[in-house]
């Protein structure tokens, strides 16, 4: 019953996005569509020729970074030329905003949008792979780019998924009072309880209700993005938490929450810590270190989540690419590598499911600890000791 509802919601979501993309693609004129098709056909022919010759060397690095990076349009399985079109939103040099479908520039075409020409910068040029405006003198100008790229669309999917799950859970409580949910919803509840009681409440104690909404939101958003990233086809597949922009925003938010709600004691410990006087008077050594520490904390948050998730994705891509590299050398080696690589990929993806959870958990836990450090009360030492103990417990 619950599962059915979940699937329904999921499909509705997918449909909504598809229809949105389709509508974005609609205004394309017939002539343009014909031209597109011709271009696609030509390219396909060229590639087919290259493939029959068997001379094309695989550029592993390019493929890896293509898959790890962002893109206009969302890939579909089994076809490299068709992409689900997504809206491109750019601010041209003259200040006017232009909105058009990514299908219009997908294969290197130039799109003329009321007085400004746009295209995706070709390989080797400046701003390679990004939408650029072609100025009158032929120079590329990188406009302010607020496009709904693949990553942004995946961001929205995760957001809607998390909102849906949590509202569903909330409505369960409204309808069923004290009964605890079963099956899928029960798992969501278990996660909420795990984070709230295990991380937030045990570290922040009486301050927990103030910070729980932010920390829980962060946890489930990260978890949703991580898990969606592991689904290879359409609604997933974007390497979101392995993108430094996403983790940077999350870390900045934790930094803001930590410092905006920081107590007087916290600021005193930064600018006038309880250390021998010579460490702070002629040369403010300790305050400098403390201020430096304020910024290294979010930096660590950014990099650890980014590197962990990107690493997981990269390993799976490299394992897959090994098949093609070895096939290029000899068919037998290729066949053997296929077996080994697929086995390892499945194994790595399973590990990544675990890592998705662990990374979301670690991000939330570290954020909680940073916030609780900034909630230092007058007897700072006890608090620090208890936090140190909490860290120790968490690590064990």
């Amino acid at each position: 019953m619950n599962m059915n509802r979940f699937l329904k919601i999921f499909f509705l979501l997918a449909l909504a996005i598809c229809s949105f993309s389709a509508r974005a693609a609609e205004p394309e004129s017939d002539a343009q569509a014909a031209a597109d098709q011709a271009a696609v056909a030509a390219e396909a022919r060229l590639e087919a020729e290259a493939a029959t010759e068997g001379e094309e060397q695989i550029d592993a690095k390019k493929i890896i970074f293509e898959h790890l990076g962002d893109g206009y349009g969302w890939e579909v399985p089994f076809n490299h030329h068709v992409r689900i079109p997504l809206p491109i939103i750019v601010r041209a040099k003259d200040g006017g905003f232009h909105v058009f479908s990514s299908a219009r520039v997908q294969h290197g075409e130039v799109y003329a949008s009321s007085g400004a020409d746009f295209m995706i910068a070709p390989e080797g040029a400046d701003h390679q792979g990004k939408v650029v405006q072609i100025l009158a003198d032929g120079e590329f100008y990188r406009p302010l780019d607020l496009s709904i790229t693949k990553n942004v669309a995946a961001l929205f999917v995760s957001m809607i998924l998390v909102i849906g799950l949590m509202l569903w859970l909330a409505s369960w409580y409204k309808r069923n009072g004290f009964r605890s949910p079963r099956k899928g919803l029960g798992a969501v509840e278990t996660c909420v309880e795990f984070v709230y009681n295990g991380v937030v409440k045990s570290t922040l104690k009486e301050d927990a209700p103030r910070f729980a909404p932010y920390l829980l939101t962060a946890f489930f958003f990260i978890l949703g993005m991580n898990l969606l990233g592991l689904i290879v086809v359409f609604p997933g597949g974007a390497n979101l938490t392995g993108n430094i922009a996403v983790t940077l925003v999350l870390a900045v938010l934790t930094f803001l929450v930590t410092n905006i709600f920081g107590t007087k004691e916290y600021w005193k410990e930064i600018f006038w810590p309880e250390v021998p006087l010579w460490l702070k008077v002629p040369l403010p050594i300790m305050p400098v270190i403390e201020i430096f520490g304020m910024f290294t904390k979010p930096a660590a948050l950014t990099v650890r989540l980014f590197a962990n998730m990107m690493g997981g994705h990269m390993i799976v891509i490299v394992l897959t690419l090994l098949i093609f590299i070895f096939s290029y050398m000899s068919p037998v080696a290729g066949g053997l590598t296929t077996v080994v690589s697929v086995g390892f990929s499945v194994f790595m993806l399973l590990i990544d499911v675990l890592v998705s959870f662990i990374q979301a958990y670690v991000f939330t836990m570290l954020s909680t600890i940073f916030i609780s450090l900034a909630q230092a009360k007058a007897h700072g030492h006890e608090k620090k000791e208890s936090v140190a103990k909490a860290i120790e417990d968490a690590l064990v």
Partner: protein
């Protein structure tokens, strides 16, 4: 490298979507969920406490019942013993009374038998002496027809009397 340079568009949309997510969940989801979790935890704690109390009370009641039962048993045993004693006593009393009564009856019977025996003996004596006298008189009449015999008898009787004395 592109991978390490945050893209402005993505940063912007990340802020927007996190903001939307946070506001929606903060307003509609977290208060309800966290309140329900806390309330349920409280309810469960209370339930456990209640169950523990109930169990203690039940144990207490069971113990009391046991005590009452033991008491009742003891009382019953006492009563039985008492009744037994009473029964024996009554039987004993009845027996002794009956004996006394029987004794009395027997004594009376003995007495009357003795009396009757005495009376019978007396009557017997009387009648025997009557007979004897009659016989004697008859004999005497016959014997004493001869005056010599009469004087001989008188003298023998007188001899006898002398001899006795």
């Amino acid at each position: 490298m592109e991978l390490f340079a945050p893209d402005f568009g993505l940063v912007f949309w990340m802020f927007v979507s996190f903001g939307i997510l946070f506001l929606v969940l903060w307003k509609f989801a977290w208060p309800v969920i966290l309140k329900s979790l806390d309330q349920r935890a409280d309810l469960i704690d209370k339930g456990v406490e209640y169950a523990q109390n109930a169990k203690a009370q039940l144990d207490n009641a069971r113990q009391q019942a046991q005590e009452v039962i033991t008491d009742a048993r003891k009382q019953q045993a006492d009563m039985l013993r008492e009744a037994d004693k009473m029964k024996n006593q009554i039987i004993e009393e009845a027996r002794s009374q009956a004996q006394q009564e029987a004794q009395k009856v027997m004594d009376q019977a003995k007495l009357s038998i003795q009396q009757q025996q005495k009376e019978a003996e007396q009557a017997f004596r009387d009648s025997v002496s009557d007979f004897a006298l009659q016989i004697a008189s008859k004999v005497v009449k016959q014997e004493m027809a001869d005056p010599k015999a009469q004087s001989k008898l008188v003298s023998s009787l007188l001899n006898e009397m002398e001899g006795k004395n």
